[in-house]
């Protein structure tokens, strides 16, 4: 019986982990780090925990619906989706596999998120900008063309070597 439960838990986790992100559909919710956990109770009820990326993320309801639907289709009739607001999502939770997939689709993966300390957040006016290598040709000769893009998480860049524009997932 214990083995069956363990297998069921693994199945539920695999099903939930494979749901694609609505806005970065080359990533699964597990790659993106928004799937925080999947638990199967002894009675077969599944609880999946998601965390939003940005406060205004319009895709949260879609993610909840998609995870619940996939789990039901996989034979779990009772599914509860929990939302974990804490700790807040960080791009550091994008997995190595997720970063590889982003780069494979021409999107530069994020660098390490800035470290948070207690006390006031310092304001930097020096214009220091991160060096982002081109995801297509690897050149370091790139520049930011817009800090905001089509979704909250991305900025727009251009490569000076291969001349291609590309998107970059901003670290937060």
């Amino acid at each position: 019986m214990a083995t069956v439960t363990a297998l069921t838990g693994a199945l539920a986790r695999r099903v939930a982990a494979q749901v694609p992100d609505p806005e970065l559909p080359m990533l699964t919710l597990a790659d993106l780090g928004v799937l925080r956990g999947v638990e199967v109770a002894a009675d077969g009820a599944v609880t999946a925990t998601l965390t939003p990326t940005y406060s205004g993320c319009p895709a949260m309801a879609e993610m909840r619906a998609a995870v619940a639907a996939r789990l039901r289709n996989a034979g779990f009739p009772r599914v509860t989706i929990r939302t974990a607001l804490e700790p807040p999502w960080t791009t550091d939770w994008i997995t190595a596999e997720g970063r590889r997939k982003l780069a494979g689709h021409g999107i530069a993966p994020p660098g390490p998120a800035p470290r948070r300390t207690s006390g006031p957040v310092p304001l930097e006016l020096s214009g220091v900008r991160r060096a982002v290598p081109c995801p297509r040709c690897g050149s370091a000769d790139t520049r930011e063309t817009s800090r905001f893009g089509a979704t909250s998480c991305k900025s727009l860049w251009r490569c000076g070597s291969c001349r291609e524009p590309f998107e970059y997932v901003k670290e937060i």
Binding site: S55, M60, R64, A69, L85, S152
Partner: protein, 288 residues
């Protein structure tokens, strides 16, 4: 391979999820943004006070987001339009969470729409700086610099343990967003202040126009346990840092009497809400 992956992706988006599932692309609209979050108000917390504070902070965000959205199709460049809309979207997300929390805490069970669409201007408690018309780009930059610096200073404190865990969580996430909102405004303030004679002149005018409205940022009752007066030094320090880098003087001004937090309004909020609320009020039970 890529085609197969893409087909898979779009098939997934078109999947039937069954009755009752909220869909963002089509279907029944939005669902509770605090869905699945523990909603009990902690013992010892004044629930009515918590609700009022959440609603006031949500009002700042909603009104601010609406002003930012009004730049769409009017911004100097497409990149700035995208930036302002993105910043507005973050604020709208914060507003949704805080309105929902307010409706839980005050026991009324009102949802976010009841707060955003079905209250008149006299019920709003936002800072009056947020409701002023956009003016020129310089004024919008100055307003965003003040409001994002103030909200970041407040959220930094709330993120380290507000009396309510939902507020703590909203603030903790909001700190990351407000950090780049403030960065955007500060970078533009330096660029315009240290730019041409015309851009410098407009920044001086914008700082002077905003100045009388900044007094109420630092007065009044505590917000979720943080006294606004305690934010003054940090926020003024940021404004001074930016003005020094931009070659601008931070003007002194006599604060406008009253406070948006007490329900004092300018003439500009009602028309803003008329536009914001028009569709919801014309079709109060509308679904799509």
């Amino acid at each position: 391979m890529a085609d197969t992956e893409d087909d898979h992706i779009y098939l997934s988006l078109a999947e039937e999820h069954g009755d009752g599932d909220a869909r963002w692309a089509f279907g029944t609209g939005f669902e509770d943004p605090l869905h699945g979050v523990e909603t009990a108000v902690p013992a010892g917390v004044d629930a009515a006070r918590l609700a009022a504070d959440c609603a006031a902070l949500a009002d700042d965000a909603l009104v601010g987001a609406q002003r930012l959205a009004q730049w769409c199709t009017r911004a100097p460049e497409l990149e700035e339009e995208v930036a302002l809309a993105n910043i507005g979207l973050d604020l709208l997300g914060q507003a949704r969470l805080l309105y929902t929390r307010a409706g839980q805490a005050d026991g009324s069970g009102r949802d976010e729409d009841a707060f955003a669409y079905f209250r008149g201007a006299d019920a709003f408690r936002n800072l009056r700086l947020a409701e002023l018309p956009n003016g020129d780009f310089a004024f919008s930059v100055v307003r965003l610099l003040w409001l994002s610096s103030w909200r970041l200073a407040l959220f930094t404190r709330l993120a380290h343990g507000a009396p309510d865990p939902v507020v703590t969580a909203v603030a903790d996430k909001g700190v990351k967003e407000l950090t780049y909102h403030r960065q955007y405004a500060a970078d533009w303030a330096v660029r315009l202040g240290d730019g041409t004679e015309e851009s410098h002149r407009r920044m001086c005018a914008a700082l002077a126009e905003a100045a009388p409205y900044t007094g109420e940022l630092f007065t009044g009752a505590p917000v979720c346990g943080v006294a606004p007066a305690d934010l003054r030094e940090e926020v003024a320090g940021v404004l001074r840092q930016v003005c020094d880098a931009a070659g601008l003087e931070l003007p002194d001004a006599r604060p406008l009497p009253g406070s948006g937090r007490d329900g004092d309004r300018t003439v500009h909020l009602a028309p803003l809400l008329d536009e914001l609320q028009s569709v919801a009020r014309a079709h109060p039970e509308g679904v799509w």
